[in-house]
Structure formats: structure tokens, C-alpha cells
């Protein structure tokens, strides 16, 4: 009896694995990494958008279009503010949760889309 061994574990498809297409000439489905890039690029191309960044739950930036020092500053401050805003909303009504935070200042508008694990921060200049 030949021991076939355990069947191969199902491959978890990751974007990095699909570096090359198996069939020449066929266009691969965009990997996850590219999707992420595309989404961020689309947001960046809106009128007036100065920059955007993705920040993890601890306030450490993951992806950004601005320079490092600005990014770190925005990430740290907005992360704290989002936590505070979320706790405020939940204190008032524990069934409620924060979905979006928009801060309008004289010069720009900062939009923060919070999630359990990440934060998406976009800075836009709304006026001409």
C-alpha cells in the first residue's frame, strides 16, 4: 500500500503568490496589494485632497502619501482623538458606535474613517 501522505493543504491565496501569471498573455486579477494601492490612489485623485494615510489600531502609520514627520504627527494625534470620540459616543449610548469623524478647520478638512483595527485618514482642502 503506497502511502500517499496527507493531501496538500489548501493554498491560501495571497496577493504575493500571484506574482506571475501561469498563462502568458492573460491578465491576472489584481492582487490585494494592488487593490489597496488603487483604492488609495483613487481617493488621492479627488479634487482638493492633500494626502491620505492608513493607520493601525495603535496609531502607527501603515501607508501614507505625505512625508514621514507629518504622517507620524497626524497619526498620533488623530488616533487619540478618534479613541476619545468613540468612547464619548459609546458612553452616551453603549449600543452606538462611531462611524465617521470629520474635522473642519479654516484651511482643510480632516476625515477619519475608523474601524476596529485601522483608521483611514484623508485631508482635503474643500474650498478653492
Amino acid at each position: 500500500m503506497v502511502n500517499l501522505g496527507s493531501p496538500p493543504a489548501p493554498r491560501r491565496s495571497k496577493g504575493a503568490d500571484r506574482l506571475g501569471t501561469s498563462l502568458p498573455g492573460s491578465r491576472a486579477v489584481p492582487g490585494r496589494g494592488e487593490e489597496v494601492e488603487e483604492t488609495l490612489k483613487r481617493i488621492q485623485s479627488h479634487k482638493g485632497v492633500i494626502g491620505n494615510m492608513v493607520v493601525n489600531a495603535e496609531g502607527i502609520p501603515i501607508r501614507t502619501t505625505l512625508d514621514n514627520s507629518t504622517t507620524v504627527q497626524y497619526a498620533g494625534l488623530l488616533h487619540q482623538l478618534t479613541m476619545k470620540a468613540r468612547s464619548t459616543v459609546r458612553d452616551i449610548d453603549p449600543q452606538n458606535d462611531l462611524t465617521f469623524l470629520r474635522i473642519r478647520s479654516k484651511k482643510h478638512e480632516i476625515m477619519v474613517a475608523p474601524d476596529k483595527e485601522y483608521l483611514l485618514i484623508v485631508i482635503q482642502n474643500p474650498c478653492e
Binding site: 504575493a16 490585494r32 483604492t39 483611514l120
Partner: protein, 857 residues
């Protein structure tokens, strides 16, 4: 009382009830007495104590020998009260069994007493105690205790002897004092068994406190750096599914929010935006320039015209004017001898004195353009008609012009007297100031200098035209353009002298310099050479462009403010005085070249062209000489010489050019053409200037003395306003802002008069968003030009296509017709054959037909 044993008593109803001697009930007339047992009395005493009615006779009752006492109801109040008690047995017996004799005696006594009153002397009877002595006894005070008697004896000798007192501490000797110490007496300790206290329910609170140990203040610092992810981690995140999902979910709402902002700005206060700025100063309907003052030099013997006007950068109300002879070239040659004797001047006029100029700067020949140095208003550079560059330094006279006060008395005197009476000595105030330095005649320009500018103090240029940073912090370079088709760069700092030759030359030519001329630019005098020359050649032909005006890019560099401050402080430290006094320190330092500095600039020429060229020199590969680059672009839009090339004070890349009969507005780097080109005006335009405060307004002077005020937001095909100022050609216009409420415009004319007019509120104050509106207008124009270009190319294409189509059509018809012709021919031939057949048949020539038929086959 005749009967001492009778004790009258008042008995209350209660007592009567207790003793069963109620009046009229128990005791009646028949039996008005009652025998009451002693015990009853004692019980009553026990029960009622002192309030018993029998209390006064308590003793009698107690001492009564018998057991029963007699209580009699005294109805008639014989003895004063309603009852009486008999206190003795005898009395009782007497009452119960009253003897007859006393009754008779009483009757008799009554009788006798009526008849005769016999005096009977009082016989003392033995005192019968009625109990009063008992009262007295009770009330009297007697000594209860026995009195103690003390007898103290002493030896007689000791009496009166001297006594010696001494102190003694009471606590030392035993029993020397008696103390009443306090002790807790239980009788006086009150134990509070009940207490009224208020209570309130509060949340649980906890009090804590700490005390910090404070030693001494110490400096503490924290240094930190933010946590960051490495590149690999970021890449890992990029690939993770949660992030992708998160972005997918959130990007929707983010994009909605972004689009909301793009659609409209919800936070605009429309009400506020409707209103214009706060209350205007002055009449809003007033749109005309108001005449304020005019200056004319009354002392000049010949007729002069004003060639250039410049307001003093710092001093209020001071304006400098350069005057030149109003002669044509031939006349100049003719009168050259006379002209040499008269000085050519730059006059300084002050608002406070319209007759006498404050200062007069002398120059060797007529000045056609001059400019104050931006970093030091006491240095003035001017361009001469003979091609020399002149420098003045009026630092010594600075205080004179700074403290000009309106001399009312002076001017009054002056206006009354006619001109010819006034002697030149009377205007003591005006002083002739000789120039400091002139450029070398051989090496400079050969013809009239038409424009002169100081280069910005942020950069420096070297011989090659390369740009370096300027460490001095002051303006030290000039650019001039002249009618000899060259543009020169000059440096006012002393050049490093490599050969001793110039010094000898200097010695030869050392002219006695008057003592009152400052030595700031002594190193330059007569030996000043330009740093570099840019020749505007037209290529192969020998004719070159003749520049009239130059406009440089004034974009300031991203100079770190620290560096600039450092440079200025360095310059100040260098001599602790005016940096212009110590210019030698500047040359030779290794300067940092500035990259990507735009070295291109606009030049307006005499032929009405606008050239966009570069001042950087390049090496000709063939000859190895330094050559100027070819111009980038050239436009001919004006019909006459371009006399104004000016950048807008609001937009760095918008240039106004005025020349001939029209006006053009250009945008740098837009090579298609001008954004705006006006149509030909009825009169020639001779001068122009942008408004300093309104981005869409500019002033154009005409040859008939009118000023055209253009407002781009109002009309772009013609001027918004036209106003007459004087009767002759306007040679120069220069507006100036003195304060937020006052703006003046200086208009110089051909006859030598300088008019100062006040710009009304409407022309000097921009409306809200004017800058952006005008910017929009320019952008629209650029887009329009681009569209036109596009359309041009589209039209070209269309044209080509149309031609192709035509060609195609022609070819097709040709082919078509060929076939048709053949077919038609065939049909014709067939029909002819038929015809032939029938004819021959009709003629009866059948044979011939057969022959024919054979042949045709």
C-alpha cells in the same frame, strides 16, 4: 371668741362629700352636726395633705383626746364660716347637751347689756393657748447647733514682738495645704441617651492623601521617537485581507464625504459673502482721480521733460524725478555746447514744498531711467543718455529729507514773487549733490540706457550668468539695457584686480574729487565695467534687437529665513555700519550655486517685439567664446516701441506690455500668444503701470494727456475710465500706496510737470475675491488660447481630411464613369446594330445582314 374651742372652717363641697356632711343633705336644721371619727381626718390628711380643709386644725385633731370630733354646720355663719369644729370634749358635750343656764344667761345678758353699761376693769386672765405660740415657735429661729468656744492663749511677751515672714513652698511641706482636687462625680456625669442627628445617603467616597518628598528641582528631559513600521511590515500589511476589506468598506463613505466637499462648501456664510467690505472711506460713486499736487521746476532755463519717476521707498511724500532736455537728436548736436554747461538733474520733490525741490542730484548727462536701491534707499543708480551708469550716495543728506516739515512761510514768499526775481541763492534748501561714481565710458554701453534695475538681494550672478546665493543680504548688482542692443550686468562691489594696470590707470585719471562726495563707490568711478554683456542678436543679420525695457522674474527663493538673517547680521557685523561702506568683503567667498533658478526674462524692443530669453551664457562649441543663448520666444504684437514691460504685483507670471497703439497681457510659459491683446486705440499709448492694490486694474497714459484706466473685471475690450490730466504726452505713470486709505499716482508729462493725483477708493480697494476672480480670468484666457490651438490643429486635420475626401471622390467618379462609358457604348453599339438590321431589312438586303451577323460574332 367666747368659745375658744370653736374652730370655724370652710369646707368645700368635695370635703363635704368626703365627710358626708353635705350641706342641706347630710346636715340639716334638725341635726346640723356630725360626729366624725379621728381616723377619717387622718386619712384625709394622708390623701390630700395640705389642701385638706382641716389642715389648719390638724394639731387640734391630733391632740383631741376623744375619738370622735364634732363638726357642726353653721348655716347662719354665726362664727364666720359655714362649718365649725369643736375642739374639746367639753365643748362637744356642751353642744350636744347644751345646758339651759347658759341660754338663760345669754338671754339675761342680752337684757342687761341693753339697760346699763357698767365699766368693768379688765381682769387679766390666764392666757389660753390657741395654738398661736406654736406658730411663733415654728417661725422663730433658734440655734440648732451648740456654739463652739475656742480659747487661744499666748505668752504675753510674744505680743507685739517683731515678726519675720518667710516663703515656703506649699507642696514641700506635708499637709501645708489642703487641696480640693476635682474628681469625676458620678452625680454630674450625664449620659446623653438620645441625640438628634441628620443623615444623608452619599455614594461611597474614599479619601486619600499623600505627601511627596521634595528635594530640589532637577531638569528632566525626554527624548523619544515615534514607533514606525519597517518596510517589510508595511508590505505585509498591504497584502493582508483585513486591510483590504477595511479599505473597501471605508472608501465608500470617505468618497461620499469628499464629494460632498467638492459639490459645495456648506460652511460658507452666504449672508456675509454678499456684503462688500466695511464702510468705504469716501464717496463710492467717486471714480475720478483727484488732483492733489503738481510739481514743476521753475528754475530751469531750458524746456525739460520728465523721463523717469520714482517714489522714495521709505519716506512719505518724497518723490524723485529725472528731467531731460526736450530736444531731438539734431537739436542736441546743435546745442551740445550749451548743454554741457547745464547740469542734468534728478529732483527730489516733497509734498510739503511744491516750489523748491529738496535735493538735486547732478549727473554728467541726461538721465533716462533711475532706481532707488531696495536695500538702501540712499543709494540711487541711474542710466544716462550717453550710456553711462551713474551712482549716487545721499546718506549724508538723509536727515535733511527725512525731517521735512511743511515750510509754510517759505512757500508763501515764493508764490508772491515772479520767477525772474527769485535768485538761485534763495533756495538754500536745495543742494546739488554730485554723483558718486560713473561707469567706464569705453566698456559700458554706447547708447542711451533705456532701463535699469537692481537685482534682488537673494541672488547673485557671475560672469557666466550662473546664479549663486547672495550672502551679503543687500542688493549689489544691476541690470541695464541700452539702445546698443546689449543688456549688461553690473556689480557695485570692487572687482578683484588681477593686473596692476588698472591701478596705474586710476592714478592717471585721478581727478580731484570734491570733499563732499562720499567715497562709497570710489573704486568704481570711471573704471566700472559690466560683469557680463548679453547681446540680443537677430541671427545672421547684423541688425540686433534694441531693448527698451526688461522684466526679471522676481520669484523669491526658498531661502531659509535663518540663513538670510545670518547673512544680514554678518553684513551688519562686518563694519557695524552701512554694508555699502564695506563692499569688499563680498567677493571671493565660495557661494553656493542655486539650482533651477529661472534665468529667463522678458525684453521689450523698439520694434514692438517681446522677447523671452535667457541671460545664461553658453560656450560656443566652435569658437569657444561665451555666447548668449538664442531667445526662447519672440512675439510681435505692438506697432511701436514697447515702453512698458511690467510684472503684475499680484501674479508673478503675468506681464503687461504697452507699446504703439495697444496693450497686451502675457503669461509666462504660455507660448501660444498673449492672453489679452487690445485693439488699436485712437491715440498712441505712451506709458503704463499696474495698479498696486487691485489685481485687475492698470493705468495707461496716452499721447494726448489722457489716462486710460482699465479694469479687467469690468471690460476687457476698452478702458473702463478715461480722464484728462494734462495737455501733452504722458511720459511716466507711477502709483504709490502711502497708507491703507490713501493712494497716489504720479503722472509725468512731456512739458516737465509732475502731477500727483489721488486714487479714489473704488480704484484702490479690491473687492472681495478680486484676486481669485482675476486669476480665474487669466486661467480662462489660457484655456481659451489652448483651445484655439487645439482647434487650429483640429482644423488642420479637418482640412487634410477634407482634401483627402475630395481626392477620393474624384478618383471614384473617374472609375465609375469609365465603366459607365463602356456600358453605354456597348448599349449604343447594340442599338446601332439593331438599327442597321432593321434598315437593311427594310431595304431588302438580307444577305448583307447575315454577313454582318457573322462579322460581329
Amino acid at each position: 371668741r367666747s368659745h375658744p374651742e370653736i374652730y370655724p372652717l370652710v369646707l368645700t363641697v368635695k370635703t363635704q362629700e368626703i365627710f358626708h356632711c353635705r350641706a342641706e343633705d347630710d346636715v340639716t336644721d334638725e341635726q346640723p352636726y356630725k360626729l366624725i371619727n379621728k381616723e377619717t381626718f387622718f386619712e384625709d390628711f394622708k390623701n390630700r395633705g395640705a389642701i385638706s380643709d382641716f389642715y389648719p386644725v390638724k394639731k387640734i385633731i391630733q391632740e383631741y383626746p376623744g375619738d370622735e370630733l364634732l363638726l357642726v354646720y353653721d348655716k347662719d355663719f354665726k362664727y364666720g364660716l359655714n362649718f365649725y369644729l369643736i375642739g374639746t370634749e367639753e365643748g362637744k358635750e356642751n353642744y350636744l347637751n347644751p345646758p339651759e343656764v347658759p341660754e338663760e344667761q345669754e338671754e339675761q345678758k342680752e337684757h342687761i347689756s341693753e339697760e346699763v353699761y357698767v365699766y368693768k376693769p379688765l381682769v387679766s386672765k390666764p392666757w389660753v393657748s390657741l395654738g398661736s405660740e406654736k406658730e411663733i415657735e415654728e417661725e422663730s429661729v433658734k440655734e440648732s447647733t451648740k456654739q463652739i468656744k475656742y480659747m487661744i492663749s499666748r505668752k504675753r511677751s510674744k505680743f507685739g514682738a517683731p515678726i519675720k515672714f518667710s516663703d515656703q513652698n506649699a507642696s514641700n511641706v506635708k499637709d501645708a495645704y489642703i487641696e480640693c482636687t476635682s474628681y469625676p462625680d458620678k452625680n454630674f456625669t450625664l449620659k446623653q441617651l438620645e441625640k438628634d442627628v441628620g443623615m444623608q445617603v452619599v455614594p461611597q467616597i474614599k479619601d486619600t492623601s499623600t505627601q511627596t518628598k521634595w528635594t530640589y528641582p532637577k531638569n528632566a528631559t525626554t527624548q523619544y521617537y515615534p514607533r514606525e513600521f519597517s518596510e517589510e511590515e508595511k508590505e505585509a500589511f498591504k497584502q493582508s485581507k483585513p486591510l483590504a476589506d477595511f479599505l473597501d468598506n471605508m472608501s465608500v463613505s470617505v468618497e461620499i464625504a469628499l464629494q460632498q466637499n467638492e459639490i459645495t462648501n456648506t460652511f460658507i456664510d452666504d449672508w456675509k459673502c454678499l456684503a462688500e467690505e466695511e464702510g468705504t472711506f469716501g464717496d463710492k460713486t467717486d471714480t475720478y482721480l483727484k488732483e492733489y499736487q503738481s510739481f514743476t521746476d521753475l528754475h530751469s532755463p531750458t524746456e525739460k521733460m520728465i523721463t523717469c519717476v520714482s517714489w522714495h521707498p521709505t519716506i512719505f511724500g518724497l518723490i524723485a524725478v529725472s528731467v531731460a532736455e526736450r530736444l531731438s537728436f539734431e537739436e542736441r548736436v546743435q546745442f551740445s555746447g550749451k548743454l554741457l554747461l547745464q547740469p542734468s538733474l534728478i529732483l527730489f520733490w516733497s509734498f510739503s514744498d511744491p516750489i523748491h525741490p529738496q535735493l538735486m542730484l547732478e549727473s554728467p548727462d541726461d538721465i533716462f531711467c533711475f532706481q532707488f536701491c531696495p536695500s538702501d534707499p540712499n543709494i540711487i543708480a541711474g542710466g544716462c543718455i550717453n550710456g553711462q551708469v551713474i551712482l549716487w550716495d545721499i546718506t549724508a543728506h538723509a536727515d535733511r529729507i527725512e525731517n521735512i516739515k511743511s515750510g509754510g512761510s517759505r512757500s508763501k514768499k515764493a508764490t508772491l514773487k515772479p520767477m525772474f526775481i527769485l535768485e538761485p541763492e534763495s533756495n538754500k534748501e536745495a543742494m546739488y549733490i554730485r554723483h558718486c561714481a560713473v561707469s567706464s565710458i569705453e566698456n559700458g554701453h554706447k547708447k542711451v540706457i533705456t532701463d535699469i534695475h537692481w537685482l534682488s538681494d537673494t541672488f547673485e550672478v557671475n560672469r557666466m550668468g550662473s546664479v549663486f546665493e547672495n550672502r551679503n543680504g543687500i542688493c549689489c548688482q544691476l541690470i541695464t539695457c541700452s539702445a546698443d542692443c546689449t543688456i549688461c550686468f553690473w556689480d557695485i562691489r570692487p572687482q578683484k584686480i588681477s593686473t596692476p594696470q588698472p591701478t596705474e590707470k586710476k592714478k592717471e585719471e585721478s581727478i580731484e574729487i570734491p570733499f563732499d562726495v562720499p567715497s562709497t563707490f570710489l573704486h568704481l568711478d570711471l573704471s566700472w565695467k559690466p560683469l557680463s554683456k548679453v547681446r540680443l542678436s537677430k541671427g545672421e543679420t547684423s541688425l540686433d534687437h534694441c531693448p527698451t525695457k526688461v522684466s526679471l522674474n522676481e520669484e523669491h527663493l526658498l531661502y531659509k529665513t535663518q540663513d538670510k538673517a545670518l547673512a544680514q547680521s554678518k553684513a551688519a557685523k562686518a563694519g557695524e555700519m552701512n554694508p555699502y561702506q564695506n563692499l569688499e568683503g563680498g567677493i571671493g567667498d565660495h557661494l553656493k550655486p542655486i539650482d533651477d533658478f529661472c534665468t529667463k526674462f522678458f525684453v521689450g524692443t523698439e520694434e514692438g517685439e517681446l522677447i523671452y530669453t535667457d541671460w545664461k551664457m553658453e560656450r560656443d562649441p566652435e569658437t569657444g567664446r561665451l555666447m548668449t543663448k538664442k531667445p526662447v520666444s519672440l512675439y510681435t504684437v505692438h506697432d511701436g516701441a514697447v515702453h512698458t514691460v511690467q510684472r503684475s504685483p499680484f501674479y508673478n507670471d503675468i506681464i503687461l506690455t504697452v507699446g504703439g497703439w495697444n496693450v497686451a497681457i502675457w503669461k509666462e510659459n504660455v507660448t501660444i500668444g498673449p492672453l489679452l491683446q487690445s485693439c488699436c486705440a485712437p491715440k498712441r499709448y505712451t506709458s503704463g503701470h499696474w495698479s498696486l492694490t487691485r489685481p485687475g486694474v492698470f493705468y495707461i497714459g496716452r499721447e494726448d494727456g489722457f489716462v486710460d484706466i482699465w479694469d479687467l473685471l469690468e471690460k476687457t475690450h476698452e478702458p473702463a475710465l478715461s480722464q484728462n490730466i494734462c495737455i501733452t504726452v504722458i511720459t511716466y505713470i507711477k502709483p504709490w500706496t502711502l497708507s491703507s486709505k490713501q493712494q497716489f499716482i504720479a503722472i509725468a508729462d512731456y512739458y516737465g510737470t509732475l502731477h500727483i493725483l489721488e486714487i479714489p477708493w473704488t480704484l484702490s480697494h479690491p473687492s472681495t475675491n478680486e484676486i481669485s476672480s482675476v486669476n480665474h480670468y487669466f486661467e480662462r484666457e489660457v484655456k481659451h488660447l489652448e483651445y484655439v490651438e487645439q482647434r487650429k490643429s483640429i482644423r488642420e486635420q479637418e482640412k487634410k481630411e477634407m482634401e483627402l475626401e475630395k481626392e477620393k471622390k474624384k478618383v471614384k467618379t473617374y472609375q465609375k464613369s469609365k465603366e459607365q462609358i463602356e456600358a453605354e457604348m456597348k448599349i449604343d453599339y447594340d442599338s446601332y446594330l439593331e438599327l442597321e438590321k432593321t434598315v437593311l431589312m427594310n431595304l431588302g438586303l438580307d444577305k448583307v445582314i447575315e454577313k454582318m451577323g457573322v462579322m460581329t460574332v
